[in-house]
Amino acid sequence: MTQVKVEQKVLNENQRLAAELRLRFLENQVFCLNLVSSPGSGKTSLLERTLAAFSPDTRVAVLTGDIQTENDARRLQRFGFPARQITTGGTCHLDARMIDKHLAGWDLGSLEMLFIENVGNLVCPSSYDLGEHAKVVLLSVTEGEDKPLKYPSMFSKAELLVLNKIDLLPHLNFDLQLARANALRVHPGMEMVELSCTTGQGFERWMDWLQQRRKRAFAHCTPA
């Protein structure tokens, strides 16, 4: 019997593709975010309101993942920016190969921002690097405050927590303080924004975070 040392990532191939994507994003100065959450937390709504807030000359594009239907891409195309659906046909997460495939034909050099809306799932997408600058996790206040404790993998990997649907707080028993404390417990120092995609409350903080984070992504690069 022989034992050979391997010491490789299981998702070695995904990591390699993600590193290639990351390099392409860097070379083209495209700021890329990977939006994750449970189904129904408001990823598409957040993107709708964000795209609506951008001036028409913003060079932004969206890839949106779902197991079935082209509904989300249709919702997002209404804002005049390029949006493509990734239909996984059963797979519960996006991987780097799907991103690479669906970027085909888009000139990255003509973009400044790319949003990837992952499949609604708080477990599986946490294992797959898509070459993004940061993951953003959404938690709506109609869910439980303990979600960060139940899904520590995702909440510890996402840079920003967006607490969505805060317009509904008066009708719920949701304890915002407890939700924040739980997020900080699994992810010390986690950044948070509270907002409502319906009323727009708190939205400027999200837009500010986007701009600041984008600046930070390329802070070490000298302009060409």
């Binding site: 010491e7 299981v10 998702l11």
Partner: protein, 115 residues
């Protein structure tokens, strides 16, 4: 439930290694799985078994080493296990600790019998 995709990725690693050992019969794959990896070891073992059955790899066992989430406190210069996602430093109580382990999803070794 993405463990079947993970199991497929492991078999891809085995196939790659098999090219280096064309006369070898692989018997075991050693894995390191962190509790933050998002992978359930039981579901993975089941998926792997199903995937391997009646293929040229059958029988091929998994040897899974589980890795806990580890945090580091800069203030006390100590490393500790974050049980139940409790990341505050057990010595000084500081909540500002860093995650330094628990995200593993690695193939560590493979065992084979060479003809």
């Amino acid at each position: 439930m993405h463990e079947l995709s993970i199991a497929e990725a492991i078999l891809d690693r085995v196939a790659a290694e098999a090219e280096r050992h064309p006369r070898g019969r692989f018997t075991k794959v050693g894995l390191r799985i962190g509790e933050l990896s998002g992978v359930d070891p039981e579901a993975l073992s089941f998926g792997f078994e199903v995937l391997v059955k009646d293929t040229r790899w059958d029988p091929l066992a998994l040897d899974i080493q589980l890795c806990p989430r580890m945090q580091y406190c800069r203030g006390c210069d100590c490393k500790f296990r974050a049980t139940d996602s409790q990341t505050a430093c057990p010595q000084c109580g500081s909540p500002a600790t860093e995650c330094v382990g628990g995200d593993e999803l690695d193939v560590v070794f493979m065992e084979l019998e060479e003809e």
